[in-house]
C-alpha cells in the first residue's frame, strides 16, 4: 500500500490577508480584521475563514478578558501561530519569486 502523501498547506488570498494583518497587529478580533482590511474582508465570511484557519493550525484564539461594565459576550481574539507565520513567509516568498509583478 503506498504511503499517504503529506497534506499540502494552502493559503487563499483571504487567509493570506488575515495572516498579514495578524502578523502586523499581533492580536485582533473579527470586526477589527474587517475594519483593518479596508472592506476586502466581509463580515459574513470572515468568521468562517477564521474558523477554517484555526482548524488548519494557522491561528490560535482566546476569549478576551472583558471588563464587567461592557455587558456583551466576551469577544474572541485571534493570533497567528508560528506555523501560520511560516506559511505566510513561504507564500510571500513564492509569490515574489514566481510573480514578481504581483508581489506586494
Amino acid at each position: 500500500m503506498p504511503a499517504r502523501r503529506p497534506r499540502v498547506l494552502t493559503l487563499s488570498a483571504k487567509e493570506s490577508l488575515i495572516l498579514e494583518l495578524l502578523v502586523e497587529r499581533d492580536e485582533l478580533y473579527g470586526l477589527q480584521l474587517v475594519a483593518a482590511s479596508k472592506r476586502k474582508l466581509k463580515r459574513g465570511t470572515v468568521y468562517v475563514t477564521l474558523g477554517r484557519m484555526e482548524e488548519k493550525g494557522y491561528l490560535t484564539s482566546r476569549l478576551e478578558d472583558a471588563p464587567a461594565d461592557v455587558g456583551g459576550m466576551p469577544r474572541r481574539l485571534y493570533q497567528a501561530t508560528p506555523l501560520g507565520r511560516r506559511v505566510l513567509a513561504a507564500w510571500s516568498a513564492a509569490t515574489t519569486h514566481l510573480m514578481p509583478e504581483f508581489a506586494r
Binding site: Y29, G30, L31, R43, G44, T45, Y47, V48, L50, G51, E54, S61, V70, G71, G72, M73, P74, R75, R76
Partner: protein
C-alpha cells in the same frame, strides 16, 4: 435584559455543533453585542440599528455556511424548497387566471392585459405563498422521518417566507390595489378613487385606527374601529399563515406516511383554515369576539393542533424506542 443576538444564539445552539458554536456563532454574536452596546452607550441609536442589521445578516450567512456542508437533512430540505418554488408560481398563475377569465374579473376594465397581471400578482401571492409552501413541504418531505433538526430548519425557512408575505401584505398589496383602481377608473373619473381598507399600508391603517379609536362616538364609529382593527390583525395573521400551515403539514407528516392521505389532510386543513378565518371575521364584525381574537382564531387553532400532534408523535417514538431497548 435580553441582548441583541441572544435569542438567535439560542436557536443556533439547537442546530449547530458545540465546535461550530464556539468557533463561529459565538464570535459573531459577541462582536455584534459589543459594537451595538458601544453605539447605544454613546447615544448613536441609528448606528446601533445598523450594527444590529449587519450583525443579523452576518449571523445568517455564517449559520448557512457552517451548517450547510455538514447538514444531514440537506437532501430533503432541497427537495422541499424546490417543490415549494415550483408550487408557488403554479398556484399564483391559477389565482391570477381566475379573475382574468371570468366575466366579473378584469375584462370589464379598460386596461392592458399585462398591466392587469402586474397589479393582480401581489394579491395572488397572499394566498399562493402559504399554499405553495404547504404543497412543497408535503411533496418534498413525504415519507421522510421528521427529526427535530429538520423540523427546525423547515420552520426557519417558513418563517422567512412569512416575513416576505408580511411585507407583501403590509406594503406591496395596498400599493398595487390602489394602482389597479387608479388605472381602472382613469376614464370614468379624473380623480383617483379614495383608498379603502385594502389599499391602506400598515402605517396608514395604524393611523386610521388611532383616529377612529379616539372618538368612538356612535355605533358607526365603533363598527369602523372594529373593521379597521380586524383588517390590521388579519394582515398579520395571514402573514404568519405560511408558518402555521408549514407547522401543521410537518406535524401531519410525522404521523402519516401515505401520500394521498397527506394530500387529503392538507386539502381539509386549507379549507378548514379559511373557514375558521371567515368565522373569526364574522364573529369579530358582530362584536362577539375581539378583532385580534377573530383574526388570529384560525392560526391559534392550527398551532395548537400542530403542537399536540408533534408532542404525541415524539411520545410515540420514545415509547417505541423504550420498547425496542427493553
Amino acid at each position: 435584559m435580553t441582548r441583541p443576538g441572544d435569542r438567535l444564539r439560542a436557536l443556533a445552539a439547537r442546530i449547530c455543533s458545540a465546535g461550530a458554536m464556539t468557533r463561529l456563532i459565538d464570535p459573531v454574536v459577541a462582536d455584534m453585542q459589543t459594537e451595538y452596546l458601544a453605539a447605544i452607550r454613546h447615544g448613536r441609536v441609528w448606528r446601533g440599528r445598523w450594527v444590529r442589521f449587519t450583525g443579523y445578516a452576518a449571523f445568517a450567512k455564517v449559520l448557512v455556511m457552517c451548517e450547510w456542508p455538514a447538514c444531514a437533512d440537506r437532501g430533503p430540505l432541497v427537495r422541499a424548497v424546490m417543490c415549494s418554488l415550483g408550487a408557488i408560481p403554479l398556484v399564483t398563475a391559477v389565482f391570477v387566471a381566475i379573475p382574468f377569465y371570468t366575466s366579473s374579473g378584469v375584462q370589464g376594465f379598460d386596461m392592458d392585459r399585462w398591466q392587469a397581471v402586474f397589479f393582480l400578482l401581489p394579491g395572488a401571492l397572499v394566498s399562493s405563498i402559504p399554499l405553495g409552501v404547504t404543497i412543497g413541504i408535503a411533496a418534498g418531505l413525504a415519507r421522510q422521518r421528521m427529526s427535530a433538526h429538520l423540523t427546525t430548519l423547515v420552520a426557519a425557512l417558513a418563517f422567512v417566507c412569512s416575513s416576505g408575505a408580511l411585507v407583501n401584505l403590509g406594503w406591496v398589496v395596498p400599493a398595487s390595489n390602489q394602482a389597479f383602481r387608479v388605472a381602472a377608473f382613469r376614464k370614468v373619473s379624473p380623480f383617483p378613487p379614495p383608498k379603502g381598507d385594502n389599499e391602506l399600508t400598515f402605517p396608514e391603517l395604524n393611523r386610521r385606527i388611532r383616529q377612529s379609536g379616539t372618538f368612538p362616538v356612535d355605533s358607526y364609529g365603533r363598527d369602523e374601529f372594529t373593521r379597521l382593527e380586524l383588517a390590521y390583525h388579519t394582515r398579520w395573521a395571514f402573514g404568519f399563515a405560511t408558518l402555521v400551515l408549514a407547522l401543521f403539514t410537518m406535524s401531519l407528516l410525522a404521523w402519516i406516511r401515505r401520500r394521498w392521505v397527506i394530500g387529503a389532510g392538507i386539502c381539509v386543513a386549507v379549507f378548514g383554515y379559511y373557514t375558521l378565518w371567515y368565522l373569526g371575521r364574522s364573529f369579530a364584525l358582530d362584536h362577539q369576539l375581539s378583532p385580534p381574537a377573530g383574526a388570529w382564531l384560525a392560526n391559534a387553532f392550527f398551532v395548537v393542533i400542530s403542537i399536540t400532534l408533534m408532542a404525541l408523535s415524539t411520545r410515540r417514538r420514545l415509547d417505541h424506542q423504550i420498547t425496542v431497548a427493553s
